[in-house]
Each structure stands twice: as structure tokens, then as C-alpha cells.
């Protein structure tokens, strides 16, 4: 366990006067240098976890350990945590350089060294030459960079981001996404960032922790989360797909009522019930092992792909088809969709 930089053990937070906990027995751990995305719908407790790690709010129960030592009793100003707020929280009465130097000043770092380290930090976030500006004279993206520099310059134990990109427009968001990832790679600082944008989480993080209503649903690499979701919630929160429930009739074969036999890979004993998920882009047009015919009910053209909804038996299957095909299905057409057994995701055994 010593190889884990941060460990969170059965963390619980119940706000005063609240009926149920906002964070409910969450356990996870991060190796040094990892970037973890905390993902989940609004109100699921992401910010609450971050604020407990930062020391801004007390924990109700459970442990937060850094390098094996409990830190729950350390007051916020001694915890050495870097945090980038959604609205940046740059001090409006100070210049950019004063903002970045603030943490060093609080640590009693001398003026000369401070200036030098502030310049380095400005350079790291590509803000060289902006040090003497007022915060209000920076663009949103530049404020974001300044906030990151301010958190990094103190060499924090962890870098925490609370929805760092949600105040930026789409183009800048993509740019800052790469930028943040790059800065994190170069500094090697163990980071957690909160988001409710799955693209952001999938593209930026080493691992994802998906939360729902205060509980941790699943934690894993982007690939594991996307291709092997363990619960319906994770499967539907990350990407779209068609859910199917069936009774396993033989190894690798399930009978899905109202659809037919579904071939899959995975170990479920015959006689049991199981939940399956097929991602839209796994379906192909034409005959195959798992072939289902139906009428196209709905068509959305999206440039690269064509999303169709097909009524097959009692089910509505969603498929993303590449648009370079010669003829594309239209609404009302009869089509056959198929999916390879390997591309059928076993979500879990159903009750």
C-alpha cells in the first residue's frame, strides 16, 4: 500500500442538517503522479470529496492518508494542497505575479527566490511577460493558467481541479485540456480533477472514478470504464448504447426476449440472467453472428457518422454508422444490424 500516494478510506460526509450523506463510504487510492478524473452527474458529491481532501471541510467519517499518514486533522493552511477553482479565485487586488507569489510569501520564501520561482511558474504555463498585469486584464484562458501556476508554484502534495474547464468556450477548452495534461505530465504532480464531462474525463485522465449519489460506482482506466462498465449507471453515463437483458441458455449464448439469441463472450452460468450493452459504433450494417433486422425509426446525420434507431422486435437499437458508405439507410427502410460477440459488453448479472 505504501506505493500509493493518496489513499481515501471509507470516506463519508454528511452536511449538518442533511438527512443522507453527500459522500457515502468512498474508497480509492492514487499512485504518485497519476491523474484521476472524478466523474458523475451534478450533486453526486465530487466537489465535496475534493474539499475534504483539501481540508476546506471536515470529514464525517473515514480516513484520508497521504504517503501513509492521516491528514484529516491538519488544518487547510498547513496541508500544502494546490487547488484550481472553477472560477479561478485569483485575488483581484494583486497582480498576476503577486497572486502566484502569494503561497511562497506565506511560506516565508525570500523575495529574490520568490521572484525567480514566480518567473519559472509563469514560463511553465506560458504566461511569461504577464506577471505585472492585473487579473482583470487577463482572458479566461490566461486566468486559468495563472490559477494553475499559483497552485503549482508551492509544489503541492496534490493538485486538485474543480471543473477547471467549464468556464471556457469549446475551442479554448480543448486547448486547455491538452495544456493541463501536458503541465501535469511535466511536473508529475499527483492530480485529481472533477468534471461532469465524459469526453474531458476520458481524454485527460489516467483513471476515472465514476460516482453516483455519493457512492463510487466504478474506478478504472478510460478503456475499462468505457468497454467494461460494471453497472447500468456507468454504462449509460459514459457514452450511449442499447441495453439488453437475457437468460443465458448455453455458454456464450443468451436468449433476449423480443429479440432473439445473442452471442457474447464472458462467463455466465447457463440459467442465469444477464445484462448486456452494445455501443452504437459496434453495430455494423449487414449480416453477421448477431444479426437483428428492423425498421429505421429515426435518423440523425452528424457529418462523420449517421446515428440511426432501429426497431427490432421489442427493442430499439441505436447504431452509429460511418457516412462514407455508398448508400445510407433512410427513415422507414428495413435494415439488418449485426454485432460481433466480442463487442457485446456484459454489464453484470441481472436480478
Amino acid at each position: 500500500m505504501a506505493d500509493h500516494h493518496l489513499e481515501i478510506d471509507n470516506l463519508v460526509k454528511t452536511y449538518p442538517g442533511a438527512l443522507k450523506p453527500s459522500v457515502d463510504r468512498v474508497s480509492l487510492s492514487l499512485p504518485r503522479g497519476e491523474m484521476l478524473a472524478l466523474l458523475g452527474p451534478s450533486g453526486c458529491g465530487k466537489t465535496t470529496i475534493l474539499r475534504m481532501i483539501a481540508g476546506l471541510i471536515p470529514v464525517t467519517a473515514g480516513e484520508i492518508r497521504l504517503d501513509g499518514r492521516g491528514i484529516s486533522a491538519i488544518p487547510v493552511h498547513k496541508r500544502n494542497m494546490g487547488m484550481v477553482f472553477q472560477a479561478y479565485a485569483l485575488f483581484p487586488h494583486m497582480t498576476v505575479a503577486e497572486n502566484i507569489g502569494f503561497g511562497l510569501e506565506m511560506r516565508g520564501v525570500g523575495k529574490a527566490e520568490r521572484t525567480e520561482r514566480v518567473l519559472k511558474a509563469l514560463d511553465l504555463v506560458k504566461l511569461s511577460g504577464y506577471g505585472e498585469r492585473r487579473v482583470s486584464q487577463l482572458s479566461g484562458g490566461q486566468q486559468q493558467r495563472a490559477a494553475i501556476a499559483r497552485s503549482l508554484v508551492i509544489e503541492p502534495a496534490l493538485l486538485l481541479f474543480d471543473e477547471p474547464l467549464s468556464n471556457l468556450d469549446a475551442k479554448l477548452r480543448d486547448e486547455m485540456r491538452d495544456e493541463i495534461r501536458d503541465i501535469q505530465n511535466r511536473t508529475g504532480v499527483t492530480s485529481i480533477f472533477v468534471t461532469h464531462d465524459q469526453d474531458e474525463a476520458l481524454s485527460m485522465a489516467d483513471r476515472l472514478a465514476v460516482m453516483s449519489e455519493g457512492r463510487l460506482e466504478q474506478i478504472g482506466t478510460p478503456r475499462q470504464i468505457f468497454d467494461r462498465p460494471r453497472t447500468d449507471f456507468v454504462a449509460s453515463f459514459i457514452g450511449a448504447g442499447s441495453f439488453l437483458t437475457g437468460t443465458v441458455v448455453a455458454p456464450g449464448r443468451a436468449d433476449v426476449p423480443g429479440l432473439g439469441i445473442l452471442h457474447f463472450t464472458g462467463d455466465v452460468p447457463a440459467g442465469g440472467k444477464a445484462r448486456f450493452l452494445v455501443r452504437p459504433h459496434r453495430f455494423v450494417l449487414g449480416e453477421g453472428v448477431n444479426a437483428f433486422s428492423g425498421v429505421v425509426e429515426h435518423v440523425v446525420y452528424r457529418g462523420q457518422i449517421l446515428t440511426i434507431a432501429v426497431r427490432a422486435g421489442d427493442h430499439r437499437l441505436q447504431a452509429d454508422l460511418p457516412t462514407h458508405a455508398a448508400t445510407l439507410p433512410a427513415k422507414g427502410d428495413r435494415v439488418t444490424l449485426s454485432v460481433a460477440p466480442d463487442d457485446v459488453t456484459l454489464v453484470g448479472e441481472a436480478a
Binding site: 477553482f85 472560477a87 479565485a89 485569483l90 487586488h93
Partner: protein
């Protein structure tokens, strides 16, 4: 071209509409503020009350009196001194209250704010009489001191600048609180949290974040209290018992007792000049704070 012309004519009709809407307000300002002000300035250059009413020669006589009579220098000094003292104490006492009200997350915040400014519901004359009862020679404080044997004689708490200052501080505190609350817009707990995360303890969060960010509100409150204090008349008059000489009381004296309207007008102009300079200083300071 057509589009441009269209939009410009549109803009001017819009401006016309605005002017029309402003008209009642402008008229009210003109008749209740600007015209009396012009008349006041004119009166300060008149040779007598009659001349002030009817017009006539222009003379600098009143200003000469104000400038060369040491008594009026003393009055001006007293006024400034009272104003500064009242501003300092009212702001110092209101600051913690306003800070608490601005930062609290209690659901009683609205009620507490209303309570803090509730004294505005009673007239300042009534509150001044209240202070006379408390601070008077036979008032609550003196009675308590004497019956407890701490003092033999009467301690003068009224009929002097002390009494006027105390009463004005209390009377003007609600204004200070309101002005601060409206000037604390830049306070935000996120800044405090960010500072704490960067290693600032509570004391430094206060000195480095809360205090500088609340300074515009403090300044606005100080200006408001100062202006209200130096232009006050009822409280210095009642609490001063004729022994407190400030511009407000002297204007009243000259206007109603001595009937030297030109002098009263000249003193009022002096007060206006004081206002003007203080507001200039305030604007400078605000600009320095906000860039």
C-alpha cells in the same frame, strides 16, 4: 448606407425617449437642488438679508468675515475634527458587524441585517434625546457611577464634543453598515479559501485578503458618515447644549438668530467646499483601490 442611416435615426429616437424619461427627475433636481444652490451662492455675496432676497450689490464681505475671524476658523476646525472622529468610530464599530452580515451563511442573515439598520426607523431627534437621558448630568451613567461610589461629582458627558460625537456615532452607524454591505461586493469566500490553501492562516487571510477587498466599502462608509456628520445640526445642537460650535449650528445661528443670511450662506458654501474636497479625495482613493 440606408441601413446605417436607419439605425442612427433609431438611435436618436431612442435617446429622445431616454431624455423624456429623465425629464421629471431633472426638473425635480433643478427646482429643489440647483436653483436653491444658485440662490445660496448669490446670497453669500449679498450685503444684507434684504439684498439677499431682492438682489443688489455683490460684496465679498461675508467671505471676508469667514476668512479673517478666528472664530470661524475654529468652527471649521471643530467641524472637521468632529466629522473625522465620528467617521473613524462609526466605521470601526460598524466594520465587524457589516463583515459578519456579509459573510454569514445563516438563514437569519436577512433578519439580522434588518435589525442592524432598524434604528433608522426612529428619528435622529428621538435618538439624540435618548442619548441625553443616558449621558446627561443626572443620566443613567452618572447615576450608576455615583451610586457605586466610583465618582463623587458629575462627569460631564453632554453639552460638549464628547456627547455630540457619541450620539452621532450611534446615529450614523446604520448608514455605515449599509454603505459597507453595498461596498463589499468583491468579498468572496473563494478568495479566502484560495488564500488558506496557499498557506495563509486566519490572521493573514484577514490582513491580506478580507481587509484589502473590503476597503472600498470601508471608504464609502467613511465618506458617507463624514459628510452626514459635518452637515449635521440637530445632534450637535442638542448634545452640545450651545457649547459645541460646528458649521451646522453656526449656519442655523446666523440664519435664524442673528439674521445674517449672507454670512449663513457663505458658511454653507464653505461646507460645500469641504464636501467637494472630501469627495475628490475619496474618488482618488477609490480609483487607486480598484485598479
Amino acid at each position: 448606407m440606408a441601413a446605417v442611416r436607419h439605425s442612427s435615426s433609431d438611435g436618436s429616437s431612442h435617446r429622445g425617449m431616454l431624455l423624456l424619461l429623465l425629464l421629471p427627475g431633472l426638473l425635480a433636481l433643478l427646482t429643489t437642488f440647483l436653483l436653491p444652490l444658485i440662490w445660496l451662492v448669490r446670497a453669500s455675496f449679498a450685503s444684507s438679508a434684504v439684498a439677499a432676497l431682492k438682489g443688489g450689490d455683490w460684496t465679498l464681505e461675508s467671505y471676508r468675515t469667514v476668512l479673517y475671524d478666528p472664530f470661524y476658523w475654529k468652527v471649521a476646525w471643530n467641524t472637521l475634527y468632529l466629522g473625522v472622529n465620528v467617521a473613524i468610530f462609526a466605521v470601526a464599530l460598524s466594520y465587524p458587524i457589516a463583515l459578519f452580515l456579509a459573510r454569514t451563511k445563516s438563514r437569519w442573515r436577512g433578519v439580522l441585517t434588518a435589525l442592524a439598520v432598524a434604528p433608522l426607523l426612529t428619528s435622529s431627534v428621538v435618538r439624540t434625546y435618548g442619548w441625553m437621558v443616558i449621558l446627561g448630568d443626572r443620566g443613567v451613567i452618572n447615576a450608576a457611577l455615583q451610586s457605586s461610589g466610583l465618582t463623587d461629582g458629575v462627569i460631564r458627558l453632554t453639552n460638549n464634543y464628547f456627547g455630540a460625537t457619541v450620539a452621532l456615532v450611534e446615529i450614523l452607524m446604520p448608514y455605515a453598515i449599509l454603505a459597507m454591505l453595498s461596498g463589499f461586493g468583491r468579498l468572496n469566500t473563494q478568495f479566502e479559501e484560495a488564500a488558506a490553501l496557499l498557506g495563509a492562516n486566519r490572521f493573514r487571510v484577514f490582513t491580506r485578503i478580507i481587509l484589502p477587498l473590503s476597503l472600498p466599502g470601508v471608504l464609502t462608509a467613511a465618506l458617507l458618515v463624514f459628510v452626514l456628520a459635518i452637515s449635521s445640526f440637530v445632534t450637535p445642537r442638542l448634545m452640545g447644549g450651545g457649547r459645541v460650535f460646528v458649521i451646522g449650528t453656526e449656519v442655523y445661528n446666523e440664519a435664524t438668530v442673528t439674521l445674517n443670511w449672507p454670512l449663513a450662506a457663505a458658511l454653507s458654501v464653505l461646507l460645500l467646499v469641504l464636501f467637494g474636497s472630501v469627495i475628490l479625495i475619496y474618488q482618488r482613493a477609490m480609483r487607486a483601490l480598484e485598479t
